[in-house]
Symmetry: C2
Subunit: 242 residues, 2 copies
């Protein structure tokens, strides 16, 4: 498992196909249960079956596709329940990551990165606006904060699993977008406290805080799913994501 830096250009066709297919899948270009025929994809992607097969296998191993021997790959269906439980899994995993990081302590570099993320967040919240640019900057800051903790926990298995959680559609950290300003402010305040707990070497506190931090995202999601038009909006966003 264990992915390489995604900003590096892919050195093989196989990797390029993985990225293209993943984007297509997340953009909702395949209906749940739909088969992904190897030959058709070859035409569309301009490569032979070999890299396509490898890419399909990888996406299946990430949980995006189903595979049955001699019958190929089909688009997986993600029920609301699966998305919710992905957040539940993420909550306990990120809680564990925070605990382990608090136990091990932060390197000087990681500490600086987190301080920067907290500072950037403070700034962004002070000049709050609804532009895409602003939201994407917030998303980057948020990802930086969380990823630093995952890495600092020092467990590759844990890092990989958090990645798998985020592969489930709609449960990417970028989805802060869907929620209200008040929730975002509260969550950024969580970040400050989590950092405090890690710096203060309080493993148990770090775990509880992080766990509830992620769980609150789940709650926001569930709440917004209770109004029917919110469901539609959310699904639209997933479908349209390119």
């Amino acid at each position: 498992m264990s992915r390489q830096r995604s900003d590096e250009p892919s050195s093989t066709r196989y990797e390029a196909v993985v990225e293209k297919l993943r984007a297509a899948v997340l953009a909702g270009e395949f209906a749940p249960g739909e088969r992904l025929h190897e030959v058709r994809l070859t035409g569309r992607l301009g490569v032979s079956r070999t890299p396509v097969r490898a890419a399909l296998q990888k996406l299946a191993s990430e949980g995006l596709l189903d595979y049955t021997p001699n019958r190929g790959y089909t688009m997986r269906e993600f029920s609301v329940g699966e998305v919710v439980s992905a957040y539940e899994v993420r909550a306990v995993l990120e809680g564990l990551a925070a605990r382990l990081t608090a136990e091990r302590g932060l390197s000087e570099h990681d500490r600086a990165v987190m301080v920067q993320a907290l500072h950037d967040g403070d700034d962004l919240l002070q000049h709050w606006q609804f532009s895409d640019e602003h939201r994407s900057a917030y998303g980057r800051m948020n990802a930086s904060f969380h990823e630093t903790i995952h890495a600092a926990a020092g467990s590759r298995l844990l890092t990989d699993m958090v990645f798998l959680c985020q592969q489930v559609p709609v449960s990417s950290p970028r989805n802060v977008v869907a929620f209200e300003e008040k929730d975002v402010r509260r969550r950024h305040d969580d970040h400050h406290r989590i950092f405090e707990a890690i710096i203060g070497r309080e493993p148990w506190r770090a775990e509880v805080l992080m766990r509830d931090h992620v769980t609150s995202v789940k709650s926001s999601l569930v709440r917004s799913l209770s109004s029917p038009d919110a469901v539609r909006r959310l699904l639209d966003r997933v479908q349209a994501r390119s």
Copy 2:
């Protein structure tokens, strides 16, 4: 992801190769960092490169091998720290599974399976002996108990992740073997309490009990690793496992 029943005969060469290679890897036939050349494996396994490549990719996705583009697959190195953290991850995941199962409740069938497992465990402990047969029966009972809870939690992501934890060498549930009778008895008593908490619909209690249950296995492991000859014994077992 999501594996099929392992007792079914594999319908493709690829699946057969996955099982053979996994066994070879777990048997310690490859040194950490050693490259697994496709062509050599072809000769050894009697199939062409195509199924071998697919199998290597699958084992890499399970975390057993490392992959670098244009450079192939290498045997991964598992430090003691990685094994320990695999248990830590498993502890929070199985704790979550127990909580979710306690929330959702057990089906009549699952309940019967767990009652059977508890009963079998009681029997086995009453007629304790050190035979391989006895230990393997205990391992089956233990797996049945835990797997029923994983499945009852109703989250495929969670099930798959617990599976991944168990792929880490030395962290398979069958390794009860290495520990003392007293520990085994205590752990079976944990099972009774966990079952009680699930039946009584006490999610929080089920989670805490399960989490500590798995953590205690980690502790036994760490303890047995503190004596040097125990380390050697353990490594021998891993190397010799066929």
